[in-house]
């Protein structure tokens, strides 16, 4: 019985999360803030050398697999986790802060 309640609450929470996520995403996209965030992130990542690092890693992978046999899927599966881990904390923090202020503005309006 308790387990069932727990599962129920877990599902509710998941649902709530999904709802919140959808709402936030919708707002970000609607206002164009998402594009701006992405542009900011790209600029920051280039500034801090993330791009060059990832590119060098990419070249390694390409050399390993061979220039002719490389596919986009290979690159994506190899690079996505690496890309996430390489992002500096300051960049993440800045981004987080920015989203929060944006959401606060939106709710105040």
């Amino acid at each position: 019985m308790t387990i069932l309640v727990f599962i129920q609450s877990l599902q509710e929470r998941k649902l709530k999360d999904a709802q919140m996520r959808a709402t936030i995403n919708q707002k970000l996209v609607e206002t164009g803030e998402r594009e701006r965030l992405k542009e900011l992130l790209r600029a920051r990542l280039i500034e801090c050398g993330w791009r060059d690092e990832l590119k060098a890693y990419c070249k390694e992978i390409v050399q390993q697999k061979g220039l002719e046999h490389i596919t986009v899927d290979d690159l994506v599966t190899e690079m996505t986790p690496r890309g996430r881990s390489l992002v500096p904390d300051e960049v993440k923090k800045e981004l987080l802060q920015r989203i929060r202020t944006f959401l606060a503005q939106q709710s105040n309006m």
């Binding site: 999360d17 919140m20 590119k55 070249k59 994506v76 690079m79 890309g83 993440k92 929060r100 709710s107």
Partner: protein, 374 residues
């Protein structure tokens, strides 16, 4: 509900997780973009090329969006294409050049005088017609008819310069040109017969191509060919003697001025202007008087030195030539041997000396009689 959650607190773990996932998404997208980029450069073959950087080229050729400059970041400079009018040396915008030429040179499709006349005519017609059209506005059948009428009127009123020029040439000379050169208004000269205002070359050209006998009634030249059956060879010969000798008289007058009064340097331009002046303004009375009073002729009022000299010859040559021709005409001998010798000088002089062969002083009486009826 959700919004309440969002604004509730910064420490909400749910919200933090959600925002983290959003950020991860963004990071994934950026890295995905990089993946595509690298994959592309792999397939294109530029991945391992040194000095190949897309971002650099992107920034280099990025579109610049700043006020005051174009998309390439250059300050737009105003380019003004200017033309210099060959006639009046004025600087003109290229778009205004062709209209200006028509006005300045007095030719083209609508020279200003003709154009203004036509505009005046059209305005008269136009006001009348517009009144008609307003009255008959509702009448559909009438509309095409009135249009046709207007078209016909337009055709009538259109007085193209080419037609005018052709007509004038047929009537014995382009007085229009001569008037334009001397700066006189064409209207004042149009009353007199046209052939008298022609320059010597023009006369000669005309006489070479046409019969040229001057009619007693219309006082116009015969425009048929040289073998026209209406006039006899004798008549043609008389006309040629008359016209060419008349211009020779002007030439003699020139000589007088040239020798006595002026040094070579400033007489050059003056002589040009005088020649134009005399040859274009001459009347029968003038020509006879100049014939009779060759030696004592006072200097005509000099016009401003005109830039219309069509035959810029060297300074010394024409003067010597004139002196020699003066001698020859005074002595009334061996003038016939002259013409070919001076062909290299201005055509005017050569023609005049050739004409001197045909003329002689004892024919003056006869030719003045010819003038009487013209």
């Amino acid at each position: 509900m959700v919004e309440a959650d969002v604004t509730q607190s910064d420490l909400d773990p749910d919200q933090k997780a959600v925002l983290d996932s959003v950020i991860e998404e963004l990071i994934d997208e950026v890295s995905l973009g990089l993946c595509f980029e690298i994959h592309r450069s792999c397939k294109v073959g530029s991945l391992f090329l040194s000095g190949f950087d897309d971002t650099a080229s992107d920034t280099e050729y990025a579109i610049i969006d700043r006020p005051g400059v174009d998309v390439l970041g250059q300050v737009p400079s105003k380019k003004s294409y200017e033309c210099v009018c060959p006639n009046c040396q004025r600087h003109l915008a290229a778009s205004r050049f062709a209209p200006h030429l028509e006005k300045c040179m007095g030719m083209g499709r609508n020279s200003s005088r003709i154009a203004s006349r036509r505009i005046a005519n059209n305005q008269k017609h136009g006001s009348e017609e517009s009144g008609q059209e307003d009255e008959n506005d509702n009448d559909w059948n009438y509309a095409p008819e009135s249009k046709r009428v207007r078209k016909m009127k337009k055709e009538k009123s259109t007085n193209s310069p080419r037609n005018r020029r052709l007509a004038k040439l047929r009537n014995g000379g382009s007085s229009h040109d001569a008037a334009a050169v001397t700066g006189d208004s064409a209207e004042s000269l149009e009353a007199a017969p046209n052939y008298e205002k022609m320059t010597l070359e023009e006369r000669k050209a005309l006489l070479l191509t046409s019969c040229g006998v001057i009619s007693e009634h219309t006082k116009r030249m015969c425009t048929r060919t040289g073998r026209c059956v209406q006039h006899s060879d004798e008549q043609r010969r008389q006309v040629r003697q008359l016209l060419l000798r008349q211009s020779r008289a002007h030439d003699l007058e020139d000589i007088h001025i040239d020798i006595d009064t002026f040094d070579d340097a400033e007489s050059q331009s003056l002589r040009e202007s005088l020649q134009w002046d005399v040859s274009s303004n001459s009347s029968p009375a003038d020509s006879t008087s100049t014939n009779n009073s060759l030696s004592g002729m006072p200097l005509p009022p000099s016009t401003t030195a005109s830039g219309h000299s069509s035959n810029p010859s060297s300074l010394g040559a024409p003067t010597t030539h004139k002196r020699s021709s003066a001698k020859s005409s005074n002595s009334n001998s061996k003038a016939g041997s002259k013409p070919k010798k001076h062909k290299t000088n201005a055509g005017k002089h050569s023609v005049s000396s050739s004409s001197s062969s045909a003329s002689s002083s004892n024919k003056d009486q006869h030719s003045s009689n010819l003038y009487d009826f013209s």
